[in-house]
C-alpha cells in the first residue's frame, strides 16, 4: 500500500471556472500562480477547459503547463457547497515561466479542507483555562484584549506590552496586515519592546548595507541570467529560492543566456557562459548541482564559521591591489571622504598584501588561491577592458553570522568597489527568505549603533521578567528564537503562574472583572499574558492565554513584492477562511477601534487619537492607507534612489488585478513628464539612497575571535564539534503546513543532523541513527544523515522542525551593533541513542541529498 492515498485522475475546470491570479505563499522567488475554482459537480472536458490546454494528449516535457496531484484540492465555501481548487504555476510569469518548486507545487494542499490534511485550523478565538482551551466569541475576545491592553498601558505604561510580529509579505499577508500591525503597535500602543518574527528585536537584518545607501533588494531576476559571475554567499539558492536558481542562475551556467547577454551588453563586450562562486561551509545541493552542470566554472569556498567578513575584505584588497575598479565611478558615485576609513580598516592598506592574505588564510581557513580566484571572477575586467558584471546574493549565512553588521557591510562594499550594482547583470543584496510587504509608521529605533540604535532585545526582556502582555503574530518563537530552550522554559513558567493565579477561585466572566483579576495576577505572580494570532495551534500558542484564529494565504486579499525583482502583485482571495478566522488586519482593527472607544469613554482624547485611523472597511482601504506613509513619489527615473524600496503610491488593488502576473516593480514612481505610474527594474543606476546620493564607506572591525557565549566552548573537549544550521528543500519554516502534508512529513519525519563520514566513522554512527546534540544552552534530538555536505569537525542541523528546534543549542549572543543573533554558529557535543525508532523513521529517505551524480 502506498504510504498515503494517491490519485490517478484529476477533475477538469470548465471554461467558466472562476480564475484568480496569485503568487506562491512561500519563498523570496515569488512564483506566479493561477487559481481555478469550480463547483465539484461541474467539470470541463479534455478539449474544452479553463486551462486552455488539450488534456486529451500526453503532455510534452517542459511544456510549461503542469497539473499534478499536489495542485488540486476540494474546498468548502461559507455557502456549504464544495468546489474544486486547482493552483497552477503561471507560464506567463517571467519569474517562474511555469516552473515550480516542491514547496509551491503543494500550495493547493495547504488550502483548508474540512476533510483534508489541513483540517486542524484554528476556527474560533480561544481562551485558556485550567483544563485547556475554550472557544469564545470574537466580541468577548476583543473586549477582553482591548480592556486588558488599555489597563496595562494605563497602569504600567506602553512598555508593559511586548510583541513579536511578522513583517514580511506573502504567507503572513503583506502590505495590508503589516500596515495594520504598524498602526496598532507602533502608533497606538507605542511600546519600544517590538520584535520581528524571526529574531529578538525590531531591526533590519541588513543595516550594514542600508546605512551605506544601498537597500538590499536592488536587482532584477534578469540579472541572474545576464551576470558574468553569480556569487551566492551563505545563500543556498537551489534549496531555498529554488526557482531563481533553476530558471535564472542555472540557464546562465548552462550557457542558455549567452544570446541575451550579447543583446544586453555594450557593443563589443565579451559574453560567455556564467561563472558561479558559492561561499558556504557546506557542500550543499546548490554546490552539487552547479558542479554537475559546469565544474570548471564553479568555485566553492568553505570559510570557518563567523569569518566571512575577513574573507570579503581580503578579496576586496586583491581587487584594490590590482586596480580592478573604476576610479571615475568611485569618485563620482561614492563618498571618497569616507573611503579612507574603508581603505585603512577593511582593506588594511597599511599592511603588506602578503601579510594580509596570510592572516586571512589563517582566520578563515580559505586558501589564498581561492581568494585570488574569487577576486578575478568577481571584478577582473574582461577582454577589451570591459567591466565584469557580478551579481552577489547573500542570505542567512551572512545575516545570521557572527557580527551581522560588519558581515553585510563588507560584502556590500566589496561589490560597490567593483561597480557591481545598478548595471545590467549586476546587483548586491539579499537572496531573501520570505517575500516582502513592509509598510509601517517609523520604528522607534531607526538604525544600528551607528544610526541611533541598537534596538532592544525583547527576548531578554521577557525571559528576564519584563513585560505583562506578550503578543505573538504568525510566528512560533519556541522553535525559532535563539536559545529557544531557555526562552520556552522562561515563558512557560510565567504563563503558567498567571493561569494558576487566575483559576484559583474561578475566573470572572465579566470582562472588566476578568481584566482586574489579570492585573492582580501580574502583581502577585510576575506572570505573563500571552496572546497568539495564528492559523494553527503552535508550540508557542499552547502556552498562550488567548489565541486568535487568523486567515491565511488565499483567504484574504494580500499584496506583496518578491525579493528578486521587487515585483508587486496581488494575491487574490479565492476561498473563505475556516470558521471565525479573520485576516490579521481585521483582528487588529477591531481591537484598536475598541481601545479607542474605551479611551473616548474615559475622555482621554490623546490616547484615543493614538488608536485612530484603523476604521477600514476593506483590504483595499488598508492598502491605500498604508501608501500614504511613503510620501510623494513624483520623481524622475534618475532619482528613484530617493524612494522607499517598497513604495507603491498610486497603485490600487484593482490595478494589480488587471496587471495579474505581470505586476509592477517597486519603487513605483509617478513620472513627472508623463504623469503615469512607472516601476523600477534595477536600482542605483544613477545615485544611492543617502542624503547626498553617494555610497558611504565604512571601516569594519578587525578579527578579535569569537564572542564569550561561544568562545567558552573552544578548547573544551566536551563540545568538540562546530555546529551550524540551515533549511531543507522540502519544508517551509516551522512546517506549520508541511507537518500535515504527507509528501513532506514522510520524507522528513524528524529533525535531523548531517555528519561527515569521517566523523561518523569515529563516532560509530550511520544514517538512520538517533542522536542527542548538546551544549550548555540545551539539547536537541535528531536523526542522523551521514553525507559529505559538512566538513569533518562540523555538524549541520535543520534549523527547526515540527518535532524540535536546533535553536536550543544557540546562544543568546547578538551583534551589539544591530541585536541580530548568530543563529548559525556554536559548538556542541553529540551522543548516540542505543536503539532506533524504526516506526518513526521507516518512511524517511536516507539517501544523500547533495549527490546528483549518476
Amino acid at each position: 500500500m502506498a504510504l498515503f492515498k494517491r490519485k490517478d485522475e484529476l477533475p477538469i475546470p470548465p471554461g467558466d471556472a472562476e480564475k484568480y491570479t496569485t503568487v506562491c505563499q512561500y519563498c523570496s522567488a515569488g512564483c506566479g500562480y493561477n487559481v481555478y475554482v469550480w463547483p465539484e459537480d461541474k467539470n470541463g472536458s479534455a478539449t474544452a477547459n479553463a486551462f486552455g490546454v488539450d488534456l486529451s494528449k500526453q503532455g510534452k516535457l517542459m511544456s510549461g503547463f503542469s497539473y499534478t496531484e499536489t495542485m488540486h484540492n476540494v474546498i468548502t465555501r461559507k455557502n456549504g457547497k464544495q468546489y474544486n481548487l486547482a493552483v497552477i504555476p503561471a507560464k506567463e510569469s517571467r519569474i517562474n515561466k511555469g516552473d515550480y518548486s516542491i514547496r509551491g507545487g503543494t500550495n493547493a494542499l495547504t488550502a483548508y479542507n474540512p476533510d483534508g490534511y489541513t483540517k486542524k485550523r484554528l476556527k474560533d478565538p480561544l481562551i485558556r483555562r485550567e483544563n485547556g482551551f475554550v472557544p469564545i466569541s470574537w466580541d468577548d475576545a476583543v473586549e477582553i484584549i482591548a480592556t486588558l491592553t488599555k489597563s496595562s498601558i494605563d497602569k504600567y505604561g506602553a512598555d508593559s506590552i511586548a510583541m513579536k510580529f511578522y513583517d514580511h509579505g506573502s504567507s503572513g499577508l503583506g502590505f495590508e496586515d503589516n500596515w495594520a500591525a504598524g498602526k496598532f503597535f507602533l502608533s497606538g500602543v507605542k511600546t519600544s519592546y517590538l520584535s520581528i518574527h524571526n529574531r529578538p528585536a525590531y531591526n533590519s537584518e541588513t543595516w550594514g548595507t542600508r546605512e551605506r545607501g544601498m537597500h538590499e533588494l536592488n536587482y532584477d531576476v534578469d540579472d541572474a541570467r545576464l551576470a558574468d559571475t553569480v556569487v551566492l554567499w551563505g545563500a543556498n539558492a537551489y534549496e531555498s529560492a529554488t526557482i531563481l536558481y533553476t530558471e535564472h542562475i542555472m540557464p546562465n551556467l548552462q550557457g542558455g543566456s549567452v544570446a541575451d547577454k550579447k543583446k544586453a551588453f555594450d557593443p563589443g563586450e565579451p559574453a560567455a557562459e556564467g561563472h558561479i562562486v558559492i561561499i558556504d561551509p557546506r557542500k550543499n545541493a546548490t554546490v552539487a548541482v552547479s558542479q554537475d552542470i559546469a565544474a570548471d566554472r564553479v568555485l566553492h569556498i568553505r570559510p570557518n564559521l563567523g569569518t566571512d567578513w575577513i574573507l570579503a575584505n581580503a578579496i576586496a584588497r586583491i581587487i584594490w591591489e590590482n586596480r580592478w575598479y573604476d576610479q571615475e565611478f568611485l569618485d563620482k558615485r561614492t563618498d571618497m571622504k569616507t573611503f579612507g576609513e574603508y581603505k585603512q580598516k577593511s582593506l588594511q592598506s597599511g599592511k603588506p598584501l602578503a601579510t594580509l592574505l596570510a592572516d586571512a588564510e589563517r582566520i578563515t581557513g580559505v586558501p589564498k588561491t581561492q581568494m585570488q580566484q574569487a577576486a578575478e571572477w568577481m571584478a577582473k575586467p574582461k577582454e577589451g577592458g570591459f567591466k565584469r558584471r557580478t551579481l552577489t546574493l547573500f542570505e542567512k549565512g551572512i545575516i545570521w553570522n557572527m557580527k551581522n553588521y560588519d558581515q553585510v557591510a563588507a560584502i556590500a562594499q566589496l561589490n560597490v568597489l567593483g561597480h557591481n550594482v545598478g548595471r545590467v547583470g549586476t546587483g548586491c543584496g539579499r537572496l531573501g527568505g520570505h517575500q516582502e510587504g513592509y509598510v509601517r509608521p517609523p520604528a522607534p529605533t531607526p538604525g544600528s549603533i551607528h544610526a541611533g540604535g541598537p534596538p532592544k532585545n525583547v527576548d531578554k526582556y521577557i525571559t528576564g521578567g519584563g513585560g505583562k502582555i506578550y503578543w505573538v503574530g504568525a510566528t512560533d518563537p519556541y522553535l525559532s528564537t535563539p536559545n529557544s530552550q531557555f526562552f520556552r522554559k522562561s515563558v512557560k513558567k510565567r504563563a503558567d503562574a498567571l493561569l494558576d493565579y487566575l483559576d484559583n477561585g474561578g475566573v470572572p466572566t465579566e470582562v472588566k472583572a476578568y481584566a482586574d483579576k489579570v492585573l492582580e495576577a501580574f502583581e502577585k505572580t510576575g506572570g505573563l499574558f500571552m496572546i497568539v494570532q495564528d492559523m494553527y495551534m503552535t508550540h508557542t500558542a499552547a502556552d498562550a492565554m488567548m489565541i486568535l484564529p487568523a486567515a491565511g494565504w488565499g483567504e484574504a486579499v494580500d499584496t506583496s513584492i518578491n525579493c528578486h525583482s521587487r515585483l508587486l502583485r496581488i494575491y487574490d482571495k479565492f476561498m473563505d477562511a475556516p470558521g471565525e478566522a479573520l485576516p490579521d488586519w481585521q483582528i487588529l482593527a477591531r481591537i484598536g477601534n475598541r481601545i479607542k472607544a474605551l479611551y473616548e469613554t474615559d475622555g482621554n482624547k490623546q490616547m484615543a487619537e493614538r488608536f485612530g485611523g484603523m476604521e477600514w472597511k476593506s483590504d483595499a482601504e488598508v492598502f491605500e492607507a498604508g501608501s500614504k506613509e511613503f510620501g510623494d513619489n513624483k520623481v524622475a527615473e534618475t532619482e528613484e534612489a530617493k524612494l522607499s524600496p517598497e513604495c507603491y503610491v498610486g497603485v490600487t488593488h484593482d490595478m494589480l488585478r488587471k496587471l495579474g502576473n505581470e505586476g509592477i516593480q517597486t519603487p513605483v514612481r509617478r513620472d513627472p513628464a508623463t504623469g503615469r505610474l512607472s516601476g523600477t527594474k534595477r536600482r542605483y543606476t544613477h545615485s544611492f539612497a543617502s542624503k547626498d546620493g553617494l555610497f558611504k564607506w565604512y571601516g569594519t572591525d578587525p578579527w578579535t575571535g569569537y564572542p564569550a557565549e561561544v568562545a567558552k566552548y573552544q578548547h573544551n573537549a566536551t563540545y568538540p564539534f562546530w555546529f551550524t544550521t540551515g533549511r531543507s528543500q522540502h519544508v517551509w519554516q516551522t512546517m506549520y503546513h508541511d507537518r500535515k502534508i504527507p509528501e513532506k512529513y514522510f520524507t522528513l519525519p524528524l529533525p535531523y543532523v548531517e555528519i561527515h563520514p569521517e566523523d561518523a566513522g569515529k563516532l560509530g554512527m550511520k544514517s538512520g541513527d538517533m542522536v542527542d546534540v548538546f551544549n550548555e544552552e540545551g539539547s536537541s534530538t535528531a536523526l542522523v544523515y551521514v553525507n559529505d555536505s559538512t566538513k569533518p569537525g562540523l555538524i549541520f542541523g535543520i534549523m527547526y522542525h515540527a518535532k524540535g528546534s536546533m535553536n536550543h543549542l544557540i546562544s543568546s549572543y547578538t551583534d551589539p551593533k544591530t541585536t541580530i543573533p548568530w543563529y548559525k554558529g556554536t559548538k556542541v557535543g553529540i551522543r548516540k541513542y542505543t536503539g532506533k525508532p524504526d516506526e518513526a523513521i521507516k518512511t524517511a529517505s536516507l539517501l544523500a541529498n547533495n549527490d546528483v551524480s549518476l
Binding site: D8, S56, D99, I102, G105, M250, H730, T747
Partner: protein, 163 residues
C-alpha cells in the same frame, strides 16, 4: 488500450533495456476506478540487482522502469521485497529519469526519487512523488506483472485518459 504484440529486448545506449511485452489482460483493482491492464514485464528469477528494465505501462506513451533494488522497498515484491517499478517521467516537468544508486534522478532540475521509499522526492523540485507501478509476481513462474499505478503520470489528466 494500445499494447505491443511482440516480444523483443532492445539494448539502449544507457545499458538499460526496452521491454515490450505481450499477453496483457484487463484487471480492475479494488480502490481504483481505473481499469488498468495486466502486463507481463519481467521475471524475478532473471532480474539482476540494480540492472533496471524499461517498459511502457499502461500504454506505450508512458515509459516505466522495473528494478530490483537489493534492499527491502515499500510495496516491493519478490522474496526480498526489493522489486519495484515506477513511471520514468519526472512528475515535475516530464523529463526522463534515470535509475542510479537507489534513486531515480532527473537531470532537468535534479529531482531525485527514492525507489525504496515509495518514490518519494527526497531532493529537488517535484512536489508529487513519482508514480509507483503496482506489481504482482506469479509465485510459480516468477513472472512479474504490472497491474496498476499509484499516483498520476506526468502530463495526464488521468492515467488512462490519453488518446
Amino acid at each position: 488500450m494500445k499494447l505491443l504484440s511482440r516480444r523483443k529486448f532492445l539494448q539502449s545506449s544507457t545499458a538499460t533495456a526496452l521491454l515490450f511485452m505481450a499477453g496483457c489482460k484487463k484487471q480492475t483493482r479494488p480502490g481504483s476506478k481505473a481499469d488498468y491492464p495486466s502486463l507481463k514485464i519481467g521475471n524475478s528469477k532473471t532480474l539482476k540487482p540494480n540492472q533496471p528494465l524499461t517498459f511502457n505501462f499502461p500504454d506505450r506513451q508512458s515509459p516505466c522502469v522495473l528494478v530490483k533494488t537489493g534492499s527491502e522497498a515499500i510495496d516491493g515484491i519478490g522474496s526480498q521485497k526489493d522489486i519495484v517499478a515506477f513511471s520514468s517521467l519526472c512528475t515535475h516537468m516530464g523529463c526522463p529519469v534515470t535509475y542510479s544508486k537507489g534513486r531515480l534522478i532527473c537531470k532537468c532540475h535534479y529531482s531525485m526519487f527514492d525507489v525504496n521509499r515509495n518514490g518519494q522526492t527526497f531532493q529537488g523540485l517535484a512536489s508529487q512523488w513519482i508514480p509507483q507501478i503496482v506489481l504482482r509476481e506469479d509465485p510459480a513462474s516468477g513472472d512479474i506483472f504490472a497491474e496498476g499505478v499509484q499516483g498520476l503520470i506526468y502530463g495526464r489528466i488521468g492515467n488512462l485518459k490519453v488518446s
